[in-house]
């Protein structure tokens, strides 16, 4: 038992073994003085940043009727997003695992939550989610406001399950009072407004200024390799069947599975990663959907490695190799990935040139402005 405890701590504690027990106890009595509160204050612009939904291009638009954001609300949400006091021991913020420079994903396979606990799934990118009705890899959150407090409450992620405690902590941080007042008026620090402000900030994470968007508007053009990759993507590769639409995840398009377990029409699929899934995905809620996961957006996909719900592929090349020749014949395999003639898993058998071209094309979906825009950055740095 003691041995288990030591290894679980994960800390490499340099040992000082002492002979006398009395000396040990004496050392323990040397406690640090009670600290006051000396917080780092967020640095915000004198004038509120503009978080209005951008008008990007004819090929990409934001449904204004579903975009419920104010500048003051999003600004408050930005501070909450990066504030580590939202975790139980003040060590983890949302931004600890959702890095702006990685399109708000995490470059490690599994992020570490409080106490160094490893999470079970890869941290997905959170962009263009303002109207998403199936969030997380298993789609268990039906809206952003439903999503935002789940990681805060999760015992492995941020561990702050007691919402009264969350409100008490935010009340004690001096910089929040004016921010809440600005966004919601007086006496506004409560769980609902915390969720709403975080939701507003996430809603603003609109990425749609990539080279692909420029090309769509006729302001730029593909290179030869990108052009060939585009043909593979929309042609023989049939990638668009699941990754089509404005956000390259088929949202707003047709559904991928016949009956989404939550009754919605969001894209999700079993892509034949395994014959037996240790992580059931949506199968956790309904066994008919074993191995079914949300279809992720491909925007900024070049910077959001590793890939898949368990981060098993570290490069896009590995992802393409999977779709090209390694799809497992799982009973729930999406019909789009089956061969029309045999009914078995499809085999694209792409040439090396086509694989490289496809990767080049996917690179055009990177929105550098989004990843360096100050209005999304960490105000505590």
């Amino acid at each position: 038992m003691q041995r288990q405890l030591r290894s679980r701590s994960g800390n490499n504690i340099p040992k000082l073994q002492v002979i006398l027990a009395v000396l040990s106890l004496g050392l323990l009595s040397c406690q640090k003085d009670t600290p006051g509160i000396s917080l780092r204050t967020p640095e915000l612009p004198a004038q509120l940043a503009n978080y209005a939904a951008p008008e990007i291009s004819p090929g990409f638009w934001v449904d204004q009727s579903r975009f419920k954001v104010t500048d003051a609300g999003a600004t408050l949400g930005r501070v909450l997003f990066y504030d580590k006091i939202l975790s139980k021991d003040n060590t983890i913020s949302c931004g600890s695992c959702h890095l702006q420079e990685k399109a708000f994903s995490d470059p490690v396979q599994f992020s570490a939550g409080i106490d160094g606990q490893m999470l079970a799934r890869h941290t997905p990118s959170i962009t263009n989610v303002y109207d998403d009705q199936a969030l997380f890899w298993d789609g268990r959150a039906k809206s952003i406001n439903d999503l935002v407090l789940k990681p805060v409450r999760n015992h492995k992620e941020m561990g702050l399950d007691d919402m009264e405690f969350l409100v008490a902590k935010i009340n004690k941080a001096p910089y929040y009072e004016p921010l809440f007042k600005q966004a919601y008026g007086d006496n506004a620090i409560n769980k609902e407004n915390i969720a709403d402000a975080l939701g507003q900030f996430l809603s603003c994470m609109i990425t749609g200024q990539s080279r692909y968007d420029d090309i769509s508007c006729g302001n730029s053009s593909f290179t030869e390799s990108e052009s060939r990759g585009s043909q593979v993507f929309f042609g023989e590769g049939r990638c668009y069947q699941c990754h089509g639409g404005l956000d390259f995840n088929q949202r707003g398009g047709f559904f991928v599975i016949d009956a989404f377990p939550f009754g919605g029409w969001e894209p999700a699929a079993n892509i034949g990663l395994d014959m037996e899934y240790t992580d059931q995905g949506m199968g956790e809620f309904d066994e008919r959907f074993e191995g079914v996961f949300k279809v992720p957006s491909l925007r900024n996909v070049a910077v959001t490695a590793p890939y898949m719900h368990d981060g098993r592929f570290s490069t896009l090349e590995e992802v393409i190799n999977h779709y090209s020749e390694n799809i497992a014949d799982h009973p729930n395999l999406a019909s789009e990935l089956r061969d029309w003639n045999t009914g078995g898993p499809g085999r694209l058998n792409l040439s090396q040139e086509d694989r490289s071209a496809l990767i080049s094309f996917l690179g055009t979906l990177t929105d550098e402005n989004f990843m360096h825009d100050d209005k999304y950055s960490d105000p505590f740095k």
Binding site: M1, I13, Q17, A21, K172
Partner: protein, 235 residues
């Protein structure tokens, strides 16, 4: 340049002197032990001080090893009178580490305290000039505490786990006499132990939210294999 050279020479001399003093101290300590080998052993009480070498060997092990051997009963004192033997043992361990981060969390303190003790009585069942075996019963107790304190400036959060144990059971000890004054021993035991575990979280600036995360207790049998070597000195 001259001063630097002098400092280097002084340091070298210091190191040489330190080595000489260490060797001298070791010689001084070993003389009485060796010298006493030639003396007659007086009948009556035989006192023994045993040192568990596992803990010392662990100091030279890779600290990243996930399975540092437990170091129970670092020091054991025993006394024998004829066929009767009694012993007490204690095993303290303390470690502390402070990580100062250049970020929001100012520091993280990790401390670990382990204390175990035992008291036992037994019979000398084998006793010749080289080998000795003692069988008996031990009563054991232990306390373990691991504490992590995250000090962020905003709050000081303590995660603590405490384990208290007590129990007892039979043991058998086998010793090999190297000389009249020095022996090596190993032992095996089956202890029934009752254990109480408490995990707590303390928030210094938000004491209303302090809580006990987990509290449980139970009993089990723990079998100790003879993989620990004690170096013993008899006097």
């Amino acid at each position: 340049m001259g001063d630097e050279l002098k400092i280097i020479m002084d340091l070298t001399m210091l190191q040489i002197m330190r080595k000489i003093m260490t060797i001298a101290a070791m010689c001084a300590l070993s003389i009485p032990v060796v010298a006493q080998d030639t003396g007659e052993v007086q009948p009556g009480f035989r006192h023994t001080l045993g040192l568990n070498t596992t803990g010392l060997l662990n100091q030279f092990r890779d600290d990243n090893a996930d399975d540092p051997l437990k170091t129970p009963y670092l020091i054991t004192y025993s006394v024998e009178l004829g066929k009767l033997a009694m012993r007490v043992g204690i095993g303290p361990e303390y470690s502390s580490e402070t990580i100062v981060r250049d970020g929001f969390t100012d520091s993280e303190e990790n401390t670990l305290l382990r204390m175990d003790g035992r008291i036992g009585a037994g019979l000398v069942v084998v006793n010749d000039h080289r080998w000795q075996a003692i069988a008996g019963l031990d009563a054991v107790t232990g306390y373990f505490r691991e504490r992590k304190i995250e000090d962020s400036g905003f709050d000081r959060v303590t995660d603590q786990e405490e384990i208290e144990t007590f129990g007892g059971g039979p043991f058998i000890q086998l010793a090999f006499q190297i000389s009249k004054r020095i022996s090596l021993s190993a032992e095996s035991a089956v202890y029934w132990q009752h254990q109480k575990t408490t995990q707590t979280q303390l928030f210094e600036n938000f004491p209303d939210f302090n809580n006990v995360i987990n509290e449980n207790s139970g009993s089990d049998l723990e079998i100790t294999l003879p993989n620990t070597i004690f170096v013993r000195i008899h006097f």
